[in-house]
Every structure is written in structure tokens, then in C-alpha cells.
């Protein structure tokens, strides 16, 4: 039954969306929830069917598209992509289910379903061309969501978002074409399959050039400092659902691509660029945390906090050992859950008051106690409280990177301080004190529809914080295979040394109990 599950997973929402054009407006919400629920159930089936003990890709499907150039429709997943896919379907479901009253709700739901296709597509693609197509396609629904349902500056924000990320991906495309060309040079065969590219050992100078080309595409998507300025605009103008999906899934494409492309394909270049990237990450962490602290709009606080956390993810990725990379992949999930929830929470207030300014809030804890509680949990998760989902990821990422550099990790570790500062400051401004604004006095607490979205997120936050094993184990196994591949491929002695061989570690770790 798992033969074509990935293709079903990718194309089912899109087909359902096409069909959705004929669905009546009154029942479109139910239709959207049903489709998203089926899709989510399918992704759970996928998780159920996933065999954590197998190394390598699973549920592979291959269909030649342009055989002359070795372009195949090649999909498959491993532990790294599996959970991001589950997260994507999950967020689409709760996003549609918790959708408030919006104009043109039909367009919104269908757009979200198309977006779901592109998101899942990116994470299952194992062919660079297919990957690129989904990667670019994902911009279109997002552009539409920001541009059509956004705030007053929506046109500026959406065009900035589109052009900025698009520029990056074009540079990435050049990198991909060169990679295919080098592959052709080396083997005489054309191939765009990532798995084939893994096998190619490139000289270091070529690796560096290609790494840089890919880096632009990924870094803008992440977004890494100093390419991050599109994000606050996009978040600031996007409707709640847009911000949620953007923060939870779309940003993860960049970091996921680092793990999927940059590390295994260019291990030496990864080592070469490790320190500069770590420095950029640290700037991201501290600088954007400070910027977040200065914000006057709570949504911008969350937006900048996203950038700050993405810094930790990138840092963990470039730890180049199993602990760090597993941690960063786990943190992708964690950050998706937590920042998605935070954006939803901001949306709850926005729906009631149509403002996001901190100065308009104040003393909300006494008016909306449940809201304050859930917000508090998410703030604490975001600040990296142990036994919440974020901590596991941050701990492992920083732990992994500590192996590479002491000083840089100490600097990066300030994430837990500065993160607490801006989060608590914003939380205090919004929720503590007395109610100063009369308009806030009669606000309703979270309603059932919002709870439907928020409670599962809270549960996941705590569950994976206490018992991360079901997610961490498959991730760890897949990361182990990537790291050992990198170790084998590494040419320079420095890279050999920087990237430990996890297989050898496993042998010694047998006696750990």
C-alpha cells in the first residue's frame, strides 16, 4: 500500500484543490478541512510505514521526465524529511481549521491546498530539477496569500518576498546546472538525482564555488543575516495563516536544503565555510534578538525571533556531527511548532482588536487567562525551557557545535539569554500589569475553533519535549548516514578531522549503558 504514497501525498491536495473550484462557497471550509485531514492522515500513515532502522531513502518512486538529461521524477524520504512533511500537513490542517472570517475564503483554502502540494513536494524531491520546481512553485501561493489578504503594505511586502527569494533561487539554479555539468564531465552521464550527486567527489575549489551558489539560494530562504529583511515585511503584512505557514514550513526549506544538498555534496567546502557561517549565525542570533527586543509590534517580535532561532538551526547544521545536525533538524520541527503557534496566538488577538501593537495591549492576563496561559507556554518553549520541544533542539545544536569551537558556542549560547530577554519583555508588556486600554477590557478568551489549533500544538510542544525519541531516533539514524558519507567523501585532512565518523562512534558507544 506504500508504493505510491509519496506521489499521492504530493498531488492529492492539488487535485483536491482543482476539484475544489466547483465546490460551493458555503461548504468549502468543510471541504478544505476534510482534504487537509485526509492528507494529514496520509502523512501519519507514512510515518507509521516508515522504518526507522533502514538507512537511506524510503518509499522511492522514479519516473523518467527528460531521459536525455537524466531528469527524473524521483521522490523518497528519510528521517530528516519525514517529520517536516508531517509538520507541513499538520499545519495546513490546523491552519485551515482555525481560519477565521476572511474574504474570499474559497480562494484562501484552495491556495493553501496548492501550497501544501509545493511544500510536501520540496521535501520529498530527490531530483534537483523536481526540487527546484517545487521550491519555486511554493513562492506563488505565498505571494498570493500575502498580496491578496495582507495588510496595508502587502504589495510591497509580497513583491519583496518574491523577488528576494527568487533571486536567491536563481543563483541556486545556476549551481544546480553546474553540478549536473560536472557530474556529466565526471561520469559521462547526465543526472539530476541528488543521490547520484552524493557519490560525486569534487575537488575542493569546485566545491567552494558550488557551495557559494547554493548558499545564496538557501541563505535567503532561511533567512540568514544580512538577507533577512524580507521576512519582517512578509510576516508583518501577511495574514495570520500566511505567517504561520511561512514560519513553520517555508523557512525550513532553507535549512533543510543545507542538510540535503550542501553538507553531503560539499563536505570540504562545508568545513571551509564553517567558521564564517557560524559567525553569521551568531550575528543572526544576537543581533536579531536585539532587534526583536526593540520592536513595538508583537508580530514583529515573533518574526525577528524566528530569525534568531534559525541562527541556532544553521549553527547546529554546521556542527558537522551527528549531535549537532540531529539537533538542528529537530529544532526545525520544534521551531515550526512553536513559532507557528506564536503567530497563531498573535492572530487570536489581532482578530479581536485588529492591532498588533504592544502599546495597545497590557494586562491581558486578567482578561484572557487561557490565552495568556497558552501564550506563556509558547513563550517559554521559545525561550528554550527544558521539557519543551525547543530545548531538545537547541541543546543538541549547541552541544554539537561545541565540539567545533568553544568561543563561538559560548557566543551562540547567549541565545538562551537574549531569547529570554525579548520574549519575556514582550510577554510582560502584553499580559502583565493592569488593563490600561479600555478596549481590551471586554475581550473574549480563546474560542473553540482557536483552541482546536492551539491545544494540539501545546500537546506536541510538551510531548516531544519530554519524549523526543519517536522523532529524534529516525532523524538521528538518517543524519548518521549523512555524516558518515561526508566523512568518507571529505578530501582535505582538516575536513576528515572536523567531521567525525559516526559509525566508529557507534561501535564504541555500545558499552554506554
Amino acid at each position: 500500500m506504500f508504493d505510491n504514497i509519496l506521489s499521492i501525498l504530493v498531488f492529492f491536495p492539488a487535485l483536491a484543490a482543482l476539484l475544489g473550484f466547483v465546490v460551493e462557497k458555503g461548504s468549502i471550509r468543510a471541504y478544505g478541512i476534510a482534504v487537509a485531514a485526509i492528507e494529514f492522515a496520509l502523512s501519519l500513515v507514512l510515518w507509521y510505514g516508515y522504518d526507522a532502522s533502514v538507512v537511506g531513502m524510503q518509499f522511492m518512486e522514479s519516473l523518467p521526465l527528460i531521459s536525455a538529461f537524466g531528469i527524473h521524477y524521483l521522490v523518497g524520504i528519510d528521517g530528516i524529511s519525514l517529520f517536516i512533511i508531517v509538520l507541513a500537513t499538520f499545519f495546513t490542517l490546523i491552519g485551515i481549521a482555525s481560519l477565521g472570517e476572511v474574504n474570499r475564503i474559497k480562494d484562501m483554502i484552495l491556495t493553501l491546498l496548492f501550497l501544501e502540494m509545493t511544500m510536501v513536494g520540496v521535501f520529498v524531491a530527490l531530483d534537483a530539477v523536481v526540487f527546484y520546481i517545487f521550491w519555486e512553485l511554493s513562492l506563488v501561493p505565498m505571494l498570493y496569500i500575502i498580496g491578496a489578504w495582507g495588510g496595508p503594505l502587502r504589495i510591497y511586502a509580497s513583491i519583496k518576498f518574491f523577488l528576494y527569494t527568487f533571486t536567491g533561487s536563481l543563483i541556486m539554479l545556476v549551481g544546480m546546472l553546474f553540478m549536473a555539468y560536472f557530474y556529466h564531465q565526471a561520469t559521462g552521464v547526465w543526472s539530476f538525482s541528488i543521490l547520484e550527486w552524493y557519490r560525486l567527489v569534487l575537488p575542493e575549489n569546485l566545491q567552494i564555488w558550488l557551495f557559494v551558489a547554493f548558499f545564496f539560494g538557501f541563505a535567503i530562504k532561511v533567512p540568514m543575516f544580512p538577507f533577512h529583511t524580507w521576512l519582517p515585511y512578509a510576516h508583518g503584512q501577511a495574514p495570520t495563516i500566511g505567517s504561520v505557514i511561512l514560519a513553520a514550513i517555508l523557512l525550513k526549506m532553507g535549512t533543510y536544503a543545507f542538510v540535503r544538498f550542501s553538507l553531503p555534496m560539499f563536505p570540504d567546502a562545508s568545513v571551509f565555510f564553517m567558521v564564517p557561517i557560524a559567525v553569521i549565525s551568531i550575528i543572526m542570533i544576537i543581533y536579531t534578538a536585539m532587534v526583536a527586543y526593540a520592536q513595538e509590534d508583537i508580530k514583529q517580535v515573533v518574526a525577528y525571533s524566528s530569525v534568531s532561532h534559525m541562527g541556532v538551526i544553521v549553527l547546529g547544521t554546521f556542527a558537522l556531527n551527528v549531535e549537532g545536525i540531529s539537533g538542528s533538524v529537530f529544532l526545525m520541527i520544534a521551531h515550526g511548532v512553536v513559532s507557528g503557534a506564536l503567530f497563531m496566538l498573535v492572530g487570536v488577538y489581532y482578530d479581536r482588536r485588529h492591532t498588533k501593537l504592544l502599546s495597545e495591549m497590557g494586562g491581558l492576563a486578567s482578561v484572557m487567562p487561557h490565552y495568556a496561559t497558552i501564550f506563556g507556554i509558547m513563550v517559554m518553549a521559545s525561550a528554550g525551557m527544558p521539557l519543551t520541544i525547543n530545548f531538545v533542539g537547541e541543546f543538541l545544536s549547541l552541544l554539537g557545535f561545541y565540539k567545533q569551537s568553544h568561543i563561538l558556542t559560548i557566543l551562540a549560547g547567549t541565545a538562551i539569554i537574549v531569547g529570554a530577554i525579548y520574549m519575556l519583555a514582550a510577554f510582560k508588556k502584553a499580559f502583565f500589569g493592569t488593563v490600561t486600554n479600555e478596549a481590551n477590557r471586554k475581550l473574549d478568551d480563546v474560542n473553540g475553533r482557536e483552541l482546536f489549533a492551539l491545544v494540539p500544538l501545546v500537546l506536541v510542544t510538551v510531548w516531544l519535549g519530554v519524549y523526543p525519541k519517536p522523532v529524534l531516533e529516525p532523524i538521528s539514524n538518517s543524519v548518521t548516514s549523512i555524516v558518515s558519507l561526508m566523512h568518507e567523501k571529505a578530501i582535505t585532512p582538516e575536513a576528515k578531522e572536523r567531521i567525525p565518523n559516526p559509525m566508529r562512534q557507534d561501535a564504541t558507544a555500545e558499552g554506554r549503558h
Binding site: V322, S326, M380, K403, A425
Partner: protein, 626 residues
């Protein structure tokens, strides 16, 4: 035994979660009773474990489940009940049960009654995790958990700006220290390959000295935050914004002593690095003196007790730093009892004086609050270290340790501090309970607390009296199974008696002086004009310094980073590129003047250019290749 372990650990959690369900609802007495009785269960289980350990049973070690496992890393939820942790468990459960019961009365009128109990029990759970964990990661969970609960409880009255500010200050300062702790953990992992205590302690002897020093320093930085050691001490006094039972439980008896616990727990490590130990001891002595001096002139009842706590923590660190781990732990225990008692007594006073904190506005309360007076006096006597109360056995022992280890400077500092301690403790007692009834001017109507609150406090009073001479022997026998069993005896009996009696006399003098000076509570205007008074009154201007030179620059820098850097430079660069392209279009659109002929010429020109490029590249390529 495992069952008792789990009962002791998880019944506070269960209480907390159930109370949390009613968190947003108006007061239900049920939550208070439930959490208190569940804590009682936890206390009983801890006692069973204590009896088990005391009767020579082996340490209980369970591994509940895996927490994190990736690569080489393997962190379980493992719990260890040995002699050290069972002592801590007893301290935590006893004090917290008392505080819970007491709070039912104290929080009686509060809107957030249920929320309070939920957080209080959650705190106890975190504290239990902290002390029972068998690895550093589990310790860190508890470490952060108590920080979180402390944040929530300090800021419990969130409508008060000062309370939520103090909560955030406490949390963030602890976070700074936690970073050090985290780095310590990373160091341990990458050098040992495990975060389990036993694996680490085995490996300690094999590791490089410099690495051990680094680990020791970073772990101690973590301890400094939780135990509010200089320079991370300012949060503790501000934390007094929380309800008084919270101050008793968290900021006197348990959480702040976590740092001491960490050093005691990591004793094999600190054994190996006596230099770091000496640094810890020196810092402890400094903080003891420093905090006591601030307590001398303060006019806020709770802050005085908070500084006293800080001072006593300094004592504990002196003992721990000098390698007398069992002494540190012993003082921790004794201190927990009498300090919690003192705080609860202060809570009674506050209750009856409608939350008045200035002792100069009280006076003569012993008539209306007899039992509170008795208990607070007992606690103060114990704190001052008068024989035969608990403080004598634990605190004077620390003085002896310093003496025996030939650290005479530390000894002198500690002795002076002991006098100061006695002075400010009895200054407080004298101001509150003796002399004229000044409160009448302010229209208060003092009344004794509920009887059940007094009864709840009585075990602490009892323990403050007896825990010294009753428990010392059995305690020593028990903990020295895992801690270094160094006995500290002054060899010459004459010196010993001079020391003991001398100390007692000095302390007695200090008490008498305090009574004399503050019986009538005359505010000495001349004295208040003096520089030294101002310095002490303003806590050496350290909070102002932090505000002026750390918080404010950070705020301003943040603002600059956003407005100037992010918007003006980073974003403007991007927009600049975009507008450059746009301008180019504006400039060159004259090319598209609509004249087909012109456009055709441009087209041909473009074609020529492309062809030329093609030729150039082909030629270039063939030259390079050929």
C-alpha cells in the same frame, strides 16, 4: 523502593496539573488541600526512602526512560536517591509541605489561589527533579524548571509592575548563569562522553587538570546564578515581590540552595581542583559579608531576610569550597528550616499589618502576635547561631572549618559576619515586636494568623531548635557514605573553647546592641546622612549600575540596531539595489520610444553583441583548451 521514589517525585506534579485545571477559576479550597496532601504523600515517601537509606540500604537508582539519544549522546530520565539527594528531598518536602499548608491561610483572599498552588507544586516537582536526577541534564531540567516556577511566582501578582519586572530580572539573570552551566555540560559531554554523574566522577581522575578547572568554573557560574552570588545577586532581593510563602520556600529554603547542592554533588570534581574551591570559598565569604552589610540598614522586612539568606548562602559556599561538603549540606538543611520559619513569620506580620513591610512602622507587636513573636525569635536565635539551636551546630562548624583549614582571613570575615547577622536579625525582631506600638499611627489592626497556619509552622520551629544537636550525628554517618568524611576538630581544646565561647559572646553582644539601639526605633537622621549609610542603603549602587550601564545601553543598542542598522543599512541596501534596477529602467526606457525602426536597430545591436560574445567565448575556450 522505586514506588516510593516515583511517589515522592510525581505526586507534586500530579497536584500541580490538577490545580492547573482550575487555574483560571475563582478560589476552590479543594486545590489547596489536594496539593498539600499530595505533598504530604511526597513527604511520607521521602521519609520512607530516608529510613531505607539510614538503615543501611543501598542507593535507589532507576532509569525511567530515554530522554535524548542521538549519535554518541544518551540522556535518560534517571533518578538517584542516595544519601545526599535524600537529605535534599527531606528538606524540600518538609519545607514545601509546611509552606503549602501555610499558604492555604496566607493566600486565603487571593484571586489567584488555584494558580498559586499549581505553580507552587510545580516548583516542588522541579526541585525534586533537580535533586533526584542522576545526570547533569536532568539536573538542568530541574534547574530551569525551578527558574520558571520562580519567575511565575515572583511575578504572581502580575498586575504590579514591580513584581513582573522582578520576575523577569530573576529569570534573565538566572539565564546568564545557566549559559555557564550549559557550557559546563558541553565540556563534560565532549570530554567524558556522558552526562551521568557516575560516569563523570569515574572519569574525573583521568581528565586533564585544565579541563577540570574549566568544567568547575562553568558549573560554578551556573551555581552562582541560582544561589545569587555576587555579581548575580541583585535578583534575590527584588524577588521579594512575590508572595511571602514563595519567598520562604523558593528564595530561602530550596531553590537558592541549588547552587550549593550542585557543588556538593560535584564534590569529586571540586576535590580535584582546590584552587577553584578556594575561589568559591573566598567569593562565599565575600558575599556573606557583603550581603550582611546590606541587611544592616535596610528598611524592608523581607529584603532584610533575603540579604540574610544571601549571606548564609555565602557561608555554605565557604564550606563547600573548602571541601567540607557535608558541612555545607548540613548548614543548607538547618538554614532551610529556620529561614523558612523566619519568612513565614514575616508573612504573618505582613498579613496582620496589611502588607506593610517597613519595620519602623510596626513595633510592640509581641502582644497581639505572641506565637509569631516566639517563632520568629527562635528562628533568629537559630540564625544567629546560639547554642543549642540549629545554627550553632551548622554555622559555627563552618567557622571551625575555615579555622582548621588555616584560612584565617576567611575565618575573620565569617566571624564578623556572624556578628552582623546577629545584629540585623535582632534589629528586625526589636523593631517589629518590641518597643512602642508605632503601627497605631498608621491605623493598622494587628491580629494573630490563623491557628492552623501557626500549627503548620510549628514543625519548622521544632526543627530549627533540634535539628542541630539531634540530627548531627546520624546525619554525619549517613552522608559521609558518599561525601568526604573529613572531621573538623580544633586540636587544642583551649583554642576550641575560646573560639566557641568567644563567638557566642560576640554574638550575644551584637544581639544586646541591636536591642538597645532599636528598642525604641529612633531614626538617626545624622547617621542616615553619612556616605556609608547611603552606600549600604542603595545596595552599593549595584542595581543602579546594572540599570545604567547594562540594561539601558542594551535597550538603546537594540533600538539602534533596529532603526539604524536593520532599517537604514541592511534593508536599505536591498531596497537600494532594487531602486537601482528600477532607475536603470527609468533611464533606459527612452530607448523604447515606440519607433519601430529604432527598436529594430537596438535589436540588431543586441544580436551583434551576443554573436560577438559567442565568438569571443569560443575563441577564448579553444585558446585555453587548445
Amino acid at each position: 523502593m522505586e514506588l516510593y521514589l516515583y511517589l515522592a517525585l510525581f505526586s507534586p506534579l500530579a497536584g500541580s496539573l490538577i490545580a492547573a485545571l482550575f487555574g483560571a477559576q475563582p478560589k476552590t479550597l479543594f486545590t489547596g488541600l489536594l496539593t498539600s496532601s499530595l505533598l504530604g504523600l511526597s513527604l511520607v515517601s521521602s521519609t520512607v526512602l530516608l529510613v531505607h537509606i539510614l538503615s543501611g540500604g543501598s542507593a535507589v537508582h532507576v532509569e525511567m526512560m530515554t530522554w535524548m539519544a542521538t549519535g554518541d549522546l544518551y540522556i535518560p530520565f534517571g533518578f538517584l536517591v542516595d544519601q545526599v539527594s535524600v537529605t535534599m528531598m527531606m528538606v524540600v518536602t518538609v519545607v514545601s509541605t509546611v509552606v503549602h499548608v501555610y499558604s492555604i491561610g496566607y493566600m486565603h483572599h487571593d484571586k489567584g489561589f488555584n494558580r498559586f498552588f499549581s505553580w507552587l507544586s510545580a516548583f516542588v516537582f522541579s526541585m525534586m527533579v533537580l535533586v533526584m536526577s542522576d545526570n547533569f541534564a536532568g539536573l538542568f531540567i530541574g534547574w530551569e524548571g525551578v527558574g520558571l516556577c520562580s519567575w511565575a511566582l515572583i511575578g504572581f501578582w502580575y498586575h504590579k509592575e514591580s513584581a513582573s519586572w522582578a520576575a523577569n530580572e530573576a529569570f534573565i539573570m538566572n539565564r546568564i548563569a545557566d549559559l555557564g552551566m550549559l557550557i559546563g555540560l558541553f565540556l563534560i559531554y565532549w570530554n567524558v562522553g556522558s552526562l551521568q554523574y557516575d560516569r563523570f566522577f569515574e572519569a574525573v581522575t583521568l581528565l586533564d587538570q585544565s579541563i577540570l578547572v574549566m568544567i568547575g568554573i562553568f558549573l560554578f557560574i551556573g551555581a552562582m546564578g541560582k544561589s545569587a552570588q555576587f555579581p548575580l545577586h541583585t535578583w534575590l532581593a527584588d524577588a521579594m515581590e512575590g508572595p511571602t510563602p514563595v519567598s520562604a520556600l523558593i528564595h530561602a529554603a530550596t531553590m537558592v540552595t541549588a547552587g550549593v547542592y550542585l557543588v556538593v554533588r560535584a564534590n569529586p570534581l571540586y576535590e580535584m581542583i582546590p584552587d577553584v574551591g578556594y575561589f568559591i570559598a573566598s567569593l562565599g565569604a565575600f558575599v556573606a559579608m557583603f550581603a550582611a552589610s546590606m541587611a544592616l540598614v535596610n528598611r524592608d522586612m523581607k529584603r532584610i531576610i533575603a540579604y540574610s539568606t544571601l549571606s548564609q548562602l555565602g557561608y555554605m559556599f565557604v564550606a563547600a569550597g573548602l571541601g567540607a561538603y557535608w558541612v555545607a549540606l548540613f548548614h543548607l538543611m538547618a538554614h532551610a528550616f529556620f529561614k523558612a520559619l523566619l519568612f513565614l513569620g514575616a508573612g504573618n506580620v505582613m498579613h496582620s499589618m496589611s502588607d506593610e513591610l517597613d519595620p519602623f512602622k510596626m513595633g510592640g507587636l509581641k502582644k497581639s502576635m505572641k506565637w509569631t513573636w516566639i517563632m520568629m525569635t527562635l528562628a533568629s536565635v537559630a540564625l544567629a547561631g546560639i547554642w543549642p539551636l540549629a545554627g550553632f551546630f551548622s554555622k559555627d562548624l563552618i567557622l571551625e572549618v575555615a579555622f582548621v583549614e588555616h584560612h584565617y582571613v576567611l575565618y575573620t570575615v565569617l566571624l564578623l559576619t556572624a556578628m552582623l547577622t546577629a545584629f540585623y536579625s535582632f534589629r528586625l525582631i526589636a523593631l517589629i515586636f518590641h518597643g512602642e506600638e508605632r503601627y497605631k499611627e498608621y491605623g493598622s489592626h494587628p491580629h494573630e494568623a490563623y491557628t492552623f497556619m501557626l500549627i503548620a509552622m510549628s514543625p519548622l520551629a521544632l526543627l530549627a531548635v533540634i535539628s542541630g544537636f539531634v540530627f548531627k550525628g546520624s546525619y554525619f554517618d549517613m552522608v559521609t557514605a558518599v561525601l568526604p568524611a573529613t572531621e573538623y576538630h580544633v586540636h587544642s581544646p583551649i583554642v576550641f573553647w575560646i573560639m566557641v565561647i568567644g563567638t557566642q559572646l560576640l554574638v550575644g553582644l551584637a544581639i544586646a546592641f541591636a536591642y538597645k539601639k532599636y528598642q525604641n526605633a529612633k531614626i538617626d537622621k545624622v547617621f542616615e546622612e553619612r556616605l556609608c549609610y547611603k552606600i549600604l542603603r542603595n545596595q552599593y549602587y549595584i542595581p543602579d549600575f546594572y540599570e545604567e550601564y547594562i540594561c539601558k545601553p542594551y535597550r538603546e543598542l537594540s533600538y539602534v540596531a533596529w532603526k539604524q542598522l536593520d532599517l537604514r543599512i541592511v534593508d536599505a541596501t536591498v531596497d537600494g539595489i532594487a531602486s537601482l534596477l528600477y532607475k536603470t529602467g527609468e533611464q533606459t526606457h527612452t530607448m523604447q520610444n515606440g519607433n519601430l525602426s529604432t527598436m529594430l536597430r537596438w535589436m540588431v545591436a543586441g544580436t551583434v553583441l551576443l554573436l560577438a560574445l559567442g565568438v569571443a567565448f569560443t575563441v577564448g575556450y579553444s585558446v585555453v583548451a587548445g
